[in-house]
Symmetry: D2
Subunit: 319 residues, 4 copies
Amino acid sequence: MAKYPGTLVELLRDAPTNWGRWGQNDEVGSLNFLTAAEILRGIQSVQYGKSFTLMLQLGHPAGEPLWPGRNPSGHFMNQDKGKYETKKIEPVPGGCSYADDILIVGLHGTTHCDALAHTWYDDRAWNGIAADKSKGGLEQANILAIAERGIVGHAVLLDVARYQGVPYLPMHQQVTLDDLLQTAKQQKVEIKKHDIIIWRTGIFNLFYQEGAAVFNREFDEPGITYEPELIDWFHDMEIPVNASDILSGEQTNTATAEAGLPLHAALSRNLGVVFIEAHWLEKWAEDCAQDHKYDGLYVAAPLKINGGTASPVNPIIVK
Amino acid sequence: MAKYPGTLVELLRDAPTNWGRWGQNDEVGSLNFLTAAEILRGIQSVQYGKSFTLMLQLGHPAGEPLWPGRNPSGHFMNQDKGKYETKKIEPVPGGCSYADDILIVGLHGTTHCDALAHTWYDDRAWNGIAADKSKGGLEQANILAIAERGIVGHAVLLDVARYQGVPYLPMHQQVTLDDLLQTAKQQKVEIKKHDIIIWRTGIFNLFYQEGAAVFNREFDEPGITYEPELIDWFHDMEIPVNASDILSGEQTNTATAEAGLPLHAALSRNLGVVFIEAHWLEKWAEDCAQDHKYDGLYVAAPLKINGGTASPVNPIIVK
Amino acid sequence: MAKYPGTLVELLRDAPTNWGRWGQNDEVGSLNFLTAAEILRGIQSVQYGKSFTLMLQLGHPAGEPLWPGRNPSGHFMNQDKGKYETKKIEPVPGGCSYADDILIVGLHGTTHCDALAHTWYDDRAWNGIAADKSKGGLEQANILAIAERGIVGHAVLLDVARYQGVPYLPMHQQVTLDDLLQTAKQQKVEIKKHDIIIWRTGIFNLFYQEGAAVFNREFDEPGITYEPELIDWFHDMEIPVNASDILSGEQTNTATAEAGLPLHAALSRNLGVVFIEAHWLEKWAEDCAQDHKYDGLYVAAPLKINGGTASPVNPIIVK
Amino acid sequence: MAKYPGTLVELLRDAPTNWGRWGQNDEVGSLNFLTAAEILRGIQSVQYGKSFTLMLQLGHPAGEPLWPGRNPSGHFMNQDKGKYETKKIEPVPGGCSYADDILIVGLHGTTHCDALAHTWYDDRAWNGIAADKSKGGLEQANILAIAERGIVGHAVLLDVARYQGVPYLPMHQQVTLDDLLQTAKQQKVEIKKHDIIIWRTGIFNLFYQEGAAVFNREFDEPGITYEPELIDWFHDMEIPVNASDILSGEQTNTATAEAGLPLHAALSRNLGVVFIEAHWLEKWAEDCAQDHKYDGLYVAAPLKINGGTASPVNPIIVK
């Protein structure tokens, strides 16, 4: 099949946009759909009082899945018992001692939430913000805006891999809108307006089972990619968050368009949909397959990093 | 008043402990009190669908309040629009461009959750874990254990500063158990077993209004400190989390005991109470003072840092 | 005395420049004066086989003198004996064990060599390089160019503080060209063309003796600053390197001109003189005062940091 | 050939040692051989006034050769022209602007000098220092001791690869003492007592020509390894520095002994020979092959990192 041709400007000339919808100064985009009513809808979806945390592990013995060229996080002790033993430091009077450490982390490594101005084309990011404002730290629509607000809403898991009967979707595979809808149908879950959509590929199983070398050699993650219908669906459904268990948040090398990263463009930059990437969904998905309850309250709180393009985050589902 | 004398071993010889209560291998301590029933109690306390994020800002123009000797976080751009302008990097085919950055952060800077093995005395941390295991990264009861579980429960704000009619409690001031209980009484809120307790001193107003120099010159934060009754109350009430808006989590220089950091010892190390420190409570507290609803659902998800002694965290309250 | 008015453009309109002198693509400026003959002159000045290292200490117990707003370096262990004791790592078969660590360092903290394109005005850096090229890392005239070449030459110490009979020049004090020449005269040392000039204020004695708080409270380092005669002298003498024991490399708040950092402009940006800042000169200067030999072979080798604006460096004098 | 069996304790039971030779508190070992006379011998060997810098490039577009598991350095801009353009910062009054940046570097990445207490066996490092003292930062014989002294002496290049007629010695190949001596003989250079020995394998040509993947897949660098005669030769010749162009400083997987890293043990830990690893020798070696002068003055000045196990360094040869 021929790919949709052209640059993002050409490809998305008639695509929907939410620029200006929430004012000239808006920095959180489609998170505006998460009103108090939506928060309450999330709250009301909780039945069992079970919770799941959805972050990958930093410093996992098997390594960290990473976009090629990025480096893993670094965790270093500043003080531990050994430093006391050698008298380099002394306990607090009375005997209390403590360990201390630092973290160095790429803001798009591990599970993370993108700021809306993280990506741009045609020199404009979300809501028309000049790309120039990214210089030396995002001036507007940076992760601080999202972190100040927090993300609380009703989420639905779309377990595409399980629906297709595989432990993980293979590299290179497109996930279509139809795949999402069929998965929902099979799961007997209705996607409603303003739902946070979390689609599962299971691809990190490849990383942890086959190792970083295999994962990186084939790196072209499966995922949703450009379809006009998909864009319209996100727009019509007023989806606030595009959540997934891949690093890219969309199919790495799009099967459908010549332009790269078309969904960062069409969804995040144009519609203000927030991308939360690289979730670890295995435990929650397993639980959903057991009890057939695929929804719940989703709470994600990025760190308040002034100027940041993203933040690591440990989203929580309560069901 | 004479201070309680002696080392922590002496001071806490007869103090209550929860070691072994949840098995030899437990790493999350009093978070075990946060059962599904407690999560549901938190859920049910939500009335309005309002949420508040409780983290301090990294990279705030006024600086970051920090325990003396610690350094502020560093946020550095890896790529921004300027790097594209100078052709050091090229946009993705089709025109998509993106900014990228890293964060260097002390795990006990900013708002953070302590791991249970972060502090120890008598060579033992929570549940009897050997202090030795802190070497090169906490082996047990590190922040990963808490991050895998997440913290979800019912929380109560005790706005001690507002109760005492001040914008912030002055440096050096002790907050007694009686202060907490009187505050609750005046607020007409009942503290129940397993509630997450969040007490407010407002001290960061001093930092942001008077500046880092003043804050650091006087550094001896107000807060709760050693009283046998306070320890017993935490124990009897089975409080899972000690949350506050000070860096130390307890009065820095205890007014009541010769041994330093007695509450890290009595509450965290012995009872397994999780300390979440340095919340930014101003907006939520203001809201509570308006609507007189001082409780809500509390969700905190530290980062999954393998071996970490703590993690920055952006707790969320939903009310 | 009225200060010279105006911007750098105005102030330096008729000041000398070396742009183009070594070709359009030159990135090392006045280091070109350090020819083989000059290296041999440095070599021939060695009499005793004594050497001195001139770097400040990173991680000094008393802290690191730093330009306000900069953070000290961080040194963190990755592995030490404690990590072996707890079996987190194993010795190499046969028993060899090793410690490992990382360093985080601001490139203008500690003793460091500036790249020629580190500073600019009127949108041009050394040799006419567009300031734009600094975006995302210096593209030209970065520290790599200097580090690839290395700095080897004949150096002369001008111990202004000792000449003036003080342990250190006070904050705010200007060092004039006449001060430099009178110091040389008193020392009975002749400054020759192409000499590396190292002038001593002793100001770090204030830091180490009085502490960081005092040093920072008064921060306005003594040093040379704008005089037309001084610029001409550097130009006529073809001085390759301006070396000093202050953080700024020139008087912080110039006593003579309205424009700030006039010597970074006139010497580094216009003449291509390399600034090496924050030397620790105490031991060498003491030795010079003893044997009255104030010159020697100077060797400085910045790290080869691609794109870097500077590098920490540990210069060596051999006399 | 059967390998020498046994642990390092067994292997080196009768091997020579310099412990105590320079007192109980010595931290620089065989650098003590570099007396003023030796510095002068280095000085006197300079004929042409040519200099070469011997460090690898940090941030090289092709990457950085690294011991498996280590991460490349990170260089990040703190401010550049883009930050001024967007008014996040303002020029100094008068128009001076400047760029600023940081470096994160593993101390055993790139060209670096090992501290003497970096490695140990039988719980003792150089001069009997307890391995315990490595906890939380090397307490003794750390890189500060070497950096305070500096390394200045007479060096000889032994271009083994060129002698053997190859662009680089293949992975896995042992370099024997006889190889070193035959190389010297063919080069017509006499190795004298106290010479700094620099042997060239050329292996980084593999990295830069074939790429990191090939280099790492085969990682088992060529180099000298355990031979009783080699140890004796270093001892008898009182060699102060073992310098090479491989990451390991000795053959990675020794061809001759069961115990790993036997030369770190026999030379560095026992004799106090300083290892300077991962030189970039190509330009200098090419020059030596042209003019047949294989010696010169060697100057290396590690950074003064208090507690550090090593430091990146940019050694300079003057010939």
